[in-house]
């Protein structure tokens, strides 16, 4: 039985108690741990819990046992010449990553780091009570404006899944999830019934700005809501700062560090649903600074935000809605790192076919991100193509659809089934 990650922490750990433990670990393990400790207040409950458990695991080792466990990594660091590097122990930097990646011992180092983490985490698990797992729900929407290719849409998805034919009006599923109807509870109500109490347990991630507006104001728990469209004022301002980064790793690290330290509160740039959420603001800044297209393309933003939310917050519920991107304008395909709305006054023109290609693979990436964690066995993923009135469902281990895949199903019936599976 897997531990449900969001529930485990009962006592508030103190980061100060852990700092001396970090000093006992090999140098290349320290930046990530120190960075998390320095950002303790804006870590999600799961991150605090994971870090506390790791430190608890370290504490279970006697000094000699810890020395024995880490001796190969210490030796490797010596061979790599880490002491001679300009290596930050305070935080992860591009220069750190670059120095590690170009070492001839990089692959060996990665294996050794993984071994140390796994051993420490195993020791922590042995001393932590296991809690009962509940279902995680990942609900993905490819909106009707995206002409998803019927032949290839689900081909690459996990073979354990099932294609579901919807009888029509599949956009109704998103409405039901956000607002509920009659005896069908909305997703927030379902999440609350399932035990969610914390906003970081329910995420709405949207290429446009529809989901949060659709969410019923009577929802029993607030959601963490991120919209690519609503973040535009902040994103434009932030991108302008990022574009000052010179072609130099040290200067880049310095600028990124400064951007992280900037409060970003006084500009009145945040959308209302983010403005009063320090954890969410920090999450957005980290998201943009970690690259992966979150600045430029709304669908990349949705995918990367969902993947990072899964990694960092391990929520019970994620609803992610993809969207349309514009065709590249003259020149912008050669300078794509810029904001093409800013560098060209030509009107935007939708690119539905290619937006669909992007959204299909990125929706699958969200599932793949979820499947990296132990809770994947309790994860229910439903991806709905509104254009095709079709969905693809991957069920928790041991569950089955309960109807023939040949049968078409009404949106209300599908949503009702989804709710039942989530609560079961």
């Amino acid at each position: 039985m897997n531990e449900w990650p969001g529930n485990a922490q009962k006592e508030a750990p103190s980061p100060d108690a852990y700092r001396h433990l970090v000093e006992r670990l090999p140098v290349t393990l320290r930046p990530s741990l120190n960075q998390q400790l320095s950002q303790w207040g804006t870590l999600f409950p799961f991150e605090q819990n994971r870090l506390a458990n790791f430190m608890k695991g370290v504490e279970t080792f006697s000094p000699s046992a810890l020395d024995a466990l880490t001796a190969p990594l210490w030796a490797l660091e010596k061979k790599m010449g880490v002491k001679l590097w300009n290596f930050s122990e305070a935080s992860d930097t591009i220069e750190n990553a670059s120095q590690l990646a170009r070492s001839e011992y990089y692959a060996e180092w990665r294996r050794e780091v993984q071994r140390v983490f796994e051993t420490v985490n195993a020791a922590a698990r042995d001393s932590t009570p296991i809690q009962t797992a509940s279902t995680r729900l990942i609900l993905l929407f490819l909106p009707g404006s995206l002409p998803v290719d019927p032949l290839s849409a689900w081909k690459q998805w996990d073979a354990r899944g099932h294609e579901i034919k919807i009888s029509g009006g599949s956009e109704r599923i998103c409405e039901l999830a956000m607002q509920g109807h009659a005896d069908l509870s909305g997703i927030a109500t379902l999440a609350a019934r399932q035990g969610s109490r914390e906003s970081s347990d329910l995420w709405l991630i949207d290429a446009e700005a529809k989901l949060s507006g659709m969410l019923s104001p009577l929802s029993p728990i607030a959601a963490f809501s991120l919209s690519y469209a609503a973040l535009k004022p902040f994103r434009d301002r932030f991108l302008a700062e990022v574009n000052k980064i010179p072609k130099d790793i040290q200067a880049t690290d310095e600028l990124i560090s400064n951007l992280r330290l900037e409060a970003w509160n006084g500009w009145d740039l945040w959308p209302a649903e983010v403005a009063n959420q320090p954890r969410l603001r920090r999450f957005v800044i980290d998201l943009y600074l970690s690259g992966n297209g979150a600045f430029i393309f709304s669908n990349a933003f949705v995918e990367w935000a969902a993947s990072e939310a899964l990694r960092r917050a391990r929520p019970r519920t994620i609803v992610a809605r993809f969207g349309m991107r514009s065709k590249p304008k003259p020149f912008t395909s050669i300078a794509i790192f810029e904001n093409q709305q800013r560098i060209s006054s030509l009107p935007d023109v939708d690119d539905p076919e290619n937006s669909a290609i992007d959204a299909v693979i990125l929706a699958r990436y969200v599932w793949l991100a979820a499947s990296r964690y132990p809770e994947q066995e309790q994860t229910l993923c439903l991806c709905v193509s509104e254009h095709r009135d079709s969905a693809y469902a991957i069920l928790p281990a041991g569950k089955s659809l309960g109807w023939s895949p040949e049968r078409t199903i009404a949106p209300e019936e599908l949503y009702s089934w989804l709710g039942a599976q989530f609560l079961s």
């Binding site: 990665r110 393309f297 304008k329 020149f331 050669i334 794509i336 810029e338 060209s344 006054s345 990436y365």
Partner: protein, 391 residues
């Protein structure tokens, strides 16, 4: 790409090479234009950035490479497995290919390769002029330092011409944006002034994209006028322009003018993957496929190249596996085969008998192989000459 944009890019490419040739005449007037040139053996290496086998030579990817698969594969020596065992970053990989040693340098090209490049071996051993060694790149991760090593007995005096044509177009866009002129990229006359400013202040390689030691690189009025006209037409069209198209056209012009013995071309349209657009990444692969085919047709049609040229085509590395913690196709950071194992194709003189060599080879095997094609066989390099080729 429509004809007007193609013609415009071609005009721009000719202008760039004109500019280079003019400045070369001023700066290197005393250097003899020695050896090789139009009659000797030639090698072209095309590195096409990060492309996975999954999107190319696999059941799911063949549709993206119709020319490589249908037209070129049957006449090639094909290596289905080539391993990049070095750092899978652009600068390190291109340096490793060129030097035959796994390079572990600053990823952003602040330092030159730590061992001699093919350009230097060839120019020193064969006493070739600089006209015979070129690297033309779309990739902004490279710098001009890639053209010659830091080795004392070699170095820049035996290095290559390094050209970044795409940088010119980028600079025009960036300048317009940085000056707060977003309307310029939609207005021909306004864009002209942005370009003019760039051309008039192009006093270094980072500005215009070519490397000529000590040269001030001013464009003369005729070239400026032609370039402005080219940009006018570029702006008038309402479709994107790719950097690889421009790199190809500059490469073709260099081939026509100088017929260099060794030409390395790096394409990078596919790197839009870093921004998360899979459709644009696939479009980049299809552009690369078409440009490589056009390049080969050019080789076969040009008497300076036909019958004496060997062409190598290879991705620098793959991209990360779907589901990897590094976000799949977006990046090339992981250490699994999806990233480190790719393919290579060899066409032309050294590939007289079409073959598929199943044995896994390495990127560092290219350097001793190419050196061998030029008769340089005594290099002490970790790589081994590629099997299956006629030397």
């Amino acid at each position: 790409m429509d004809a007007s944009r193609r013609n415009l890019l071609k005009a721009a490419a000719i202008l760039l090479v004109d500019q280079w040739a003019g400045s070369r005449r001023r700066v290197f007037a005393a250097e003899s234009s020695s050896a090789a040139g139009k009659d000797e053996r030639k090698v072209i290496v095309v590195a096409c950035a990060g492309i996975r086998r999954a999107e190319t030579f696999s059941d799911t990817g063949l549709g993206n490479i119709p020319h490589l698969y249908r037209e070129l594969l049957p006449q090639s020596v094909f290596y289905p497995f080539i391993r990049n065992a070095g750092a899978t970053s652009h600068y390190n990989t291109i340096s490793s290919i060129l030097t035959g040693n796994w390079q572990r340098l600053d990823d952003w090209g602040k330092t030159p390769p730590a061992s001699p490049t093919l350009f230097e071996y060839l120019r020193k051993r064969m006493e070739l002029s600089q006209d015979n060694a070129w690297l033309i790149s779309s990739n902004k991760a490279l710098t001009s330092r890639i053209g010659a090593s830091s080795m004392r007995d070699f170095g820049p005096r035996y290095g290559a011409n390094v050209v970044f044509p795409k940088q010119l177009l980028i600079n025009a866009v960036i300048r317009a944006a940085s000056q707060g002129h977003p309307e310029h990229s939609a207005d021909r006359a306004a864009m002209q002034s942005e370009l003019e400013a760039i051309l008039q202040h192009a006093d270094n390689y980072e500005g215009l994209g070519w490397s000529v030691s000590g040269d001030e690189s001013f464009l003369d009025l005729r070239m400026q006028s032609s370039m402005q006209q080219a940009i006018e037409e570029l702006v008038r069209t309402n479709a994107p322009v790719t950097g690889d198209e421009f790199t190809f056209l500059v490469s073709a012009e260099v081939m026509r003018r100088f017929a260099p013995s060794l030409l390395a071309i790096t394409f990078s349209d596919v790197e839009v993957a870093h921004f998360g657009s899979y459709s644009m990444h696939l479009a980049g692969i299809r552009t690369m496929d078409r440009l490589v085919y056009e390049l080969w047709n050019l080789v076969e049609a040009d008497p300076s190249y036909s019958g004496k040229t060997t062409l190598f085509i290879l991705p620098e590395f793959g991209r990360d596996l779907d589901g990897s913690s590094t976000n799949g196709f977006f990046n090339h950071r992981s250490i699994d085969d999806s990233t480190s194992l790719t393919w290579m194709m060899c066409l032309g003189e050294a590939a007289r008998s079409a073959d598929v060599v199943e044995r896994t080879v390495q990127h560092i095997d290219l350097c001793p192989t190419i050196a061998g094609l030029f008769g340089i066989k005594d290099l002490d390099l970790p790589g081994k000459p590629l099997p299956g080729l006629s030397t």
